[in-house]
Amino acid sequence: MIKPTGYYQRDRNWHPPAFDENYKTSVTRSPKFAPLSFASGISEETGPTFGHQILGPLDHDLIVNFAQPNELAIGPRIIVYGRVMDQDGRGVAGALVEVWQANAGGRYRHKKEGYLAPLDPNFGGCGRVITDAEGNYEFRTVQPGPYPWPNRVNDWRPAHIHFSVFGHAFAQRLITQMYFEGDPMIWQCPIVDTIPSREAIETLIAALDMDRTVPMDARAYKFDIVLRGARQTVFENRMEGL
């Protein structure tokens, strides 16, 4: 029988390092000691599951899930779809994907948010979906706006959607952000720039997909997400004496 025998080592040169002086908040929030490396075990190779029964009928539709009856959120209507898969390209079924974002003006619905762009009374800014048997997901929203943030004097976030993803194991737990194809602000952003390589950054840029666009309604962006993969072998590999 083939069974998982541990998750692939996380490539810490591909992920952003903890410390990046241009993302100032990371300066005091970055551990300085080396993390203790340890092969994953049952505590990390298991994880919570979320059944489709937790979902309400509008959870995946940010255009209406906070809106007053017969009202709609303001902004460019988009569909975001994609596939959650592991590093071996297998679809991750039943993955909970939670998303949050600013409104079309670049304003979050949060008491600590001070940007002068107005709130949209019909937009909450969060939603959630669970992937199907092949790992596919889809939600509808408005395209968020860019916004300034306190870092250096004139730093702006590119338009982005935050993603929190649960795979099948706690070792796969991931939070990341989706950016939009063609946005020049991506290459100005200190948070994007915490990611060491352009190649890695490009994996977070969703592609405009005109074939999935709903004519006269909403454009579509494709955003695939890759979670850690697990070794699978017919052999029980174990170092003797350990």
């Binding site: 000691f33 919570p48 390209g89 969060c126």
Partner: protein, 204 residues
Amino acid sequence: MAQKIQRLKESPSQTAGPYVHIGCTPSFTGIDIYPEDLGSKMVNAQTKGERVAISGTVIDGAGMVLRDTMVEIWQADAQGLYNSPQEARGTADANFTGWGRSPGDADTGEFHFDTIKPGRVANRDGRLFAPHITFWIVARGINLGLHTRMYFADEPAANAEDPILTRIEHQNRVPTLLAKNDGKGSYRFDIVLQGKDETIFLDI
């Protein structure tokens, strides 16, 4: 030229940012579109095991408590089984989720979990871990979610043979992973991101 290995790179992490609560605990932020925030209840009246409460804060390198974290925990039930489809060793307590999520108190930043003390589970080599709870911490300024473990200071015998605790080179840092019981079933686990008392984080 050899054959190509077609493996994908993991999606790179990005910080959860200052507004993680909008997406993960929206009710906490006043966005009431879901019945409740996920992970807010781990136990019910039928859950087996010793009830414990866990509280703590996340502290930065300047000694300041963070007030914009999200802390998740994952743990075994009282028998040492995980409530997960990947658990092949037995059937976990159906009345215990094993997973908790806390947005932290808006004013004090303190996270809180009402849970049970987990049973022991074995490492892949068969050695038993001491009872432990997996922690995952995200916040603005944290670029990749931090994994660590909470162990119980009142389990000295089990801790002394734990495969991770015994592996730590700087044994003087082990106490950063030990939560203390206040004598009434409440454990304190403060997480220090940076500095002299920096918590041991795991690359696991």
